[in-house]
Subunit: 425 residues, 2 copies
């Protein structure tokens, strides 16, 4: 027997959470149970959901029960759903999402469910290999503004960023097909700027071009971009669904890394009472479906996500524990399954990042992280290229165990940045 | 100039909401404004977002500002995004969804944006024509339980529902491709049961079969079902994205009505602080993208949505006001545009419905509504067929201006139902 496990946080002032858990386990699987004859129960047992645990938290000092909640873990037999993310989500949270204050806070997958997913095609190792950079965090930058600009302006912005030594440049997620900068010409212009920059910096660069448009034409759009020279893609996963990401990633002709943008995910993860947690949406599901890089709001900057949620996303993207709870259910089988070895996805904490934050980013994420900056590069007092250089210097300083202050004494770009934005040590 | 208008509700104890509104209007369009030279501003003005209104609500009697919010309306130039739902949502709420307590509570579309959408292929009128029923609400039923059952059992459940005189039967949304009831055999079995029932009831019936599986194979799956005899489809829209619904609906070979299931929508609409309102998700976007029927939690039953939200969904599904705010922006052009005439989508308030609620449903929704029942049909004391008959009798009573109590005196199925579940008048 294989099960996937959903963990819910359920807020209710007075509900019988054990009763609710059992009604979920039955209602979302076999539909009814106690009224079935014993022979039928035996036949249906392999389809029945199992309540694994109900942990009730009673708030202290609350007379009316407000703040009372329970964490409920339910195991769903794999046999009930096809092995894809839409089927799993619809089973465990389709109807249930509409049934009171309930949030899907975690998902664990059976090895057999996991085996239907290839995960990232490149992952952290593959991207490092493409770039020839093994021993330090990568640096990504984004355009300053894109809407209403022509190819020449985009090329100029691109070159400025590339000349500063960034490893990746991503399109803005709001840049769609448009007459000023259509995708093939945009790729040609930007990759040409990348080549020019390479002669100065001596380093490779990935440009993640935004794949947009009708759902059934996304793969075609991706291949068009690749044919024009694109060496990475950006994709707004939530607008098209996780299975579309999985299909793009699994397509053998889409031979470049995919960066997943978190656009629209804030409609689901921030509420304590409703939705789906960030570590499921932007962690586990992104990695399963093949995102090589995953952007999410950092805990440091302007669009803030709590640090523990960032760490939970990181954990989902880089550890080998996606099938962790399986052993709980079927101890006898645990040894017989091959370990799950999906490639790791690069965490890309984003928004409000400046060079002075690099020590914190590396402290929290380790070396396998992409430092992603916009205003922190374009707003540098000495210009865009100096902005990129300041970040690279900050990374070098931290990797070399030198404080930013010390390193800044001999690196004016870094010094100018930390003077403007400050520095964390 | 054409604009689409987004309305946000933004909660903050002390923010300067006017400043925030302008920062959104600039940040999600041209990126920066005040630092641009005047000539560049002139060139970029057609891409600039416009703040239409900021209505601040200060709570009375709150010393710390808690409960303070503003409704902010911002117009986004159509020229900035391709005319599809992913592009519109990513523009107006992609990054913004992650930026504090902000909820997308409404969307208005320019006529030029709307003109890219065909809306429902059948709609209320088309479905009535297929069924030959013009003058009363329709009756839909759902299976009692599906997971783990074989074709024989599904056929038996189907016949029981059909024999009671229901107009539509829908698959359970958690029924995926499986060895016991694969889609083609399921369609054949159920349509055969429908034909047998028709000889008894003398009426037509639509069976909405659940279209599931890999994103790029959904259209193929739909055509396979239609080739096997399916005369309607059920689709879990939120799991695959709105553009996939639009493509299925626009496909000339998919020649049957599509019922949109709200599975997973509860991850987005219920919070007052985050997400996207139900009237946008389950109203405007469903209709635009071609849902002929839209299910949503009723305000009457077990999985409850507030009545005003139900009424807002209904309004979005059946009125001609999708482009309403456009005249505000461009009064000069309003008269020159053809009126927008998308077909209407059938509202299907669902969950916890019994025959005694029919007077309320018709009072709230009028005659153009689908009464959708599960337990209220299968749990009828005289059996499943009697359950369907009781609903049809309740509908006949209300349409004839007779109370359920009076009508029940000569209709034992209705009487048994209202005795068990009660009746609203």
């Amino acid at each position: 027997m294989n099960y996937c496990v959903a963990t819910y946080r359920c807020h209710d002032d007075k509900a019988d959470f054990h009763k609710k858990a059992h009604s979920i386990a039955i209602g979302l699987t076999v539909g009814s149970w106690t009224e079935l004859p014993a022979a039928k129960q035996k036949e249906m047992e392999k389809h029945l959901g199992v309540v694994l645990s109900v942990d009730v938290f009673e708030p202290s000092g609350s007379a009316d029960g407000s703040g009372r909640y329970a964490d409920i873990r339910i195991a769903y037999p794999d046999i009930n759903f096809s092995h894809d993310i839409p089927a799993l989500l619809i089973t465990v949270f389709g109807k249930l999402s509409m049934d009171g204050k309930i949030k899907l806070i975690d998902l664990h997958f059976s090895p057999s469910f996991l085996s239907s997913f290839a995960g990232p095609k490149f992952g952290i190792g593959g991207i490092r290999e493409l770039l020839g950079v093994q021993d330090r965090p990568l640096l990504m930058s984004i355009f300053k503004s894109v809407v209403g600009h022509d190819l020449e302006e985009l090329g100029r912005q691109f070159y400025g960023q590339a000349a500063g030594g960034v490893d990746l440049i991503k399109d803005d997620e709001i840049l769609f097909e448009n007459p000023l900068t259509p995708i093939e010409k945009r790729v040609q212009t930007c990759m040409e700027a990348a080549r020019r920059a390479e002669t100065v910096t001596g380093q490779k660069l990935l440009y993640a071009v935004n794949i947009t448009g009708p759902a059934s034409k996304l793969a075609e759009q991706a291949k068009k971009a690749i044919a024009a020279g694109a060496n990475a893609l950006l994709f707004n996963v939530l607008a098209y669904g996780f299975d579309t990401l999985r299909e793009l990633s699994a397509d053998p002709d889409i031979s470049v890394p995919i960066a997943a943008h978190p656009a629209l995910s804030g409609a689901m993860y921030p509420s304590p009472h409703y939705g789906i947690s960030a570590s499921v949406l932007l962690g586990k599901l992104m990695r399963l479906c093949g995102a090589d890089l995953v952007l999410f709001p950092s805990p440091y900057g302007s669009v803030v996500m709590p640090k523990e949620e960032n760490m939970a996303i990181r954990h989902a993207l880089v550890t080998d524990e996606l099938a962790k709870d399986y052993v709980y259910l079927s101890p006898g089988q645990a040894g017989s399954e091959a370990p799950i070895a999906l490639r790791e996805s690069f965490p890309v904490p984003s928004a409000g990042i400046h060079p002075g934050l690099v020590p914190w980013i590396i402290r929290d994420f380790g070396v396998d992280v992409v430092v992603n900056a916009g205003g922190g590069i374009h707003g540098h007092p000495l210009g865009t290229a100096a902005g990129g250089q300041a970040f690279r210097q900050a990374i070098d300083a931290v990797m070399g165990g030198v404080t930013l202050e010390d390193y800044g004494r001999t690196h004016p770009e870094l010094q100018a940045a930390t003077q403007l934005w400050g520095a964390k040590q």
